[in-house]
């Protein structure tokens, strides 16, 4: 049971943290619960489909289908996260103002919800497919099924608890700062995912440059440990980053920072003009 619990929990950590961050980043936006839920449900359905066609996907592109699929969905998540940040740097003030007036931002926050629902969906999809396959293995093997399934349920509950904990931690930040904090977290999340995506592209044989490992901190913070896994999800920590991963990580942060600066409304020149 403990083995199943650990495997499942390890897989749901990433999705759990992301759901928590997304909920905090959309604080005060009306309808966010529905969007996040839709993301989770779509992700679960997608995960089951991916698990069902795992063999077919793996066989595509000369056996690199799984890696390319992972790289693709991660890249999609990176674009959506970056878009959210850029959008928030333009409209964050409106949302905050609307929240003060109505208690919730009914009109202005809806757009970014779609982007973040996709991010949630992708996170659930990626980790969920592995959980589904693992569960299938347990059921197919038929030994101690009930016991192992109990472990899985506790593992899943652990992931949900982690979401709640992340959210509770983030919303305790004073509301003046919360969007700044979540913007930084989302930028780091995106950079980490971008670095992960290029590694999958490397594993697929799509990219064969920059594979050289820059440093090895596996003896200090092993990625297989809980702390390493948390850092991996939150800031994209990798115990042995490749040259390419490091470059892409830094480039993603730089591009996000530049785009956010460009998108920021110039208050002096066009007061209250940033609508839409």
């Amino acid at each position: 049971m403990l083995g199943a619990l650990i495997v499942v929990f390890r897989e749901v950590i990433e999705a759990g943290l992301i759901v928590g961050i997304v909920l905090a980043a959309t604080r005060g936006v009306a309808g966010r619960g529905l969007f996040v839920m839709a993301g989770v449900v779509a992700g679960l359905i997608g995960a089951s489909i991916v698990a069902l066609f795992a063999s077919a996907i793996a066989d595509m592109f000369e056996g690199a289908g799984q890696e390319l699929f992972n790289a693709g969905v991660l890249a999609l998540a990176v674009v959506m996260l970056t878009w959210h940040n850029v959008w928030m740097s333009r409209h964050g003030r409106e949302i905050a103002a609307e929240m003060r007036g109505l208690g919730a931002a009914v009109s202005s926050g809806q757009r970014t919800l779609t982007a973040l629902a996709i991010v949630v969906g992708v996170a659930v999809l990626r980790e969920g497919a592995e959980v589904v396959l693992f569960l299938y293995g347990i059921v197919a093997a038929g030994t101690n099924t009930a016991d192992l399934l109990l472990g899985c349920v506790i593992g899943l509950a652990g992931g949900a608890a982690l979401s709640a904990l992340t959210y509770a931690g983030l919303v305790s930040i004073p509301s003046r700062y919360i969007f700044s904090v979540t913007s930084v977290m989302i930028a780091l999340l995106a950079a980490g995912m971008a670095a992960q995506a290029v590694q999958f592209a490397d594993n697929a044989g799509l990219i064969t440059i920059g594979s050289t490992v820059v440093w090895d901190t596996s003896h200090i913070v092993p990625e297989s440990g809980l702390f390493g896994k948390l850092l991996h999800t939150l800031i994209g920590y990798t115990e042995r980053p490749s040259m390419l991963q490091l470059c892409v990580y830094l480039a993603t942060l730089a591009v996000t920072a530049i785009l956010m600066r460009l998108a920021r409304p110039q208050m002096a020149q066009r007061p209250a003009a940033a609508k839409g």
């Binding site: 495997v7 795992a54 056996g63 690199a64 044989g205 064969t208 594979s211 092993p222 042995r240």
Partner: protein, 107 residues
């Protein structure tokens, strides 16, 4: 021409050079790897075919090799890694970590 030579020199300098792949194979049976030690040449791209002879899925995972790949039951998958520095690189079948263990030795 001079520009491309310069570019290659620069890429080589910062470790961005491409490398050719060498092929290996390993089998999973009864949640164990057929070889617990796999010797590969250092400094080369490696293509490893992992054959899963079990009916249940397995996840070939190695943080040292920077590889994670789900292999459905009764099928095979290709994982690519390297070029490696000489040394030992542990890998596991994540779904059966207590029995499915092995190490890639690059030399």
């Amino acid at each position: 021409m001079r520009v491309s030579l310069f570019a290659i020199a620069l890429l080589t300098l910062i470790g961005l050079q491409p490398a050719t792949a060498q092929e290996f194979s390993i089998t999973i049976k009864d949640h164990k790897f057929s070889e617990t030690e796999l010797k590969v040449p250092a400094g080369k791209r490696i293509t490893l075919t992992v054959i899963n002879d079990d009916a249940t899925p397995e996840e070939f995972e190695s943080h040292p090799l920077k590889v994670e790949k789900v292999i459905p039951g009764k099928s095979k998958a290709v994982v690519r890694f390297g070029p490696l520095k000489p040394g030992r690189y542990n890998f596991v079948g994540e779904f059966h970590e207590s029995t499915a263990k092995g190490v890639v030795i690059a030399e």
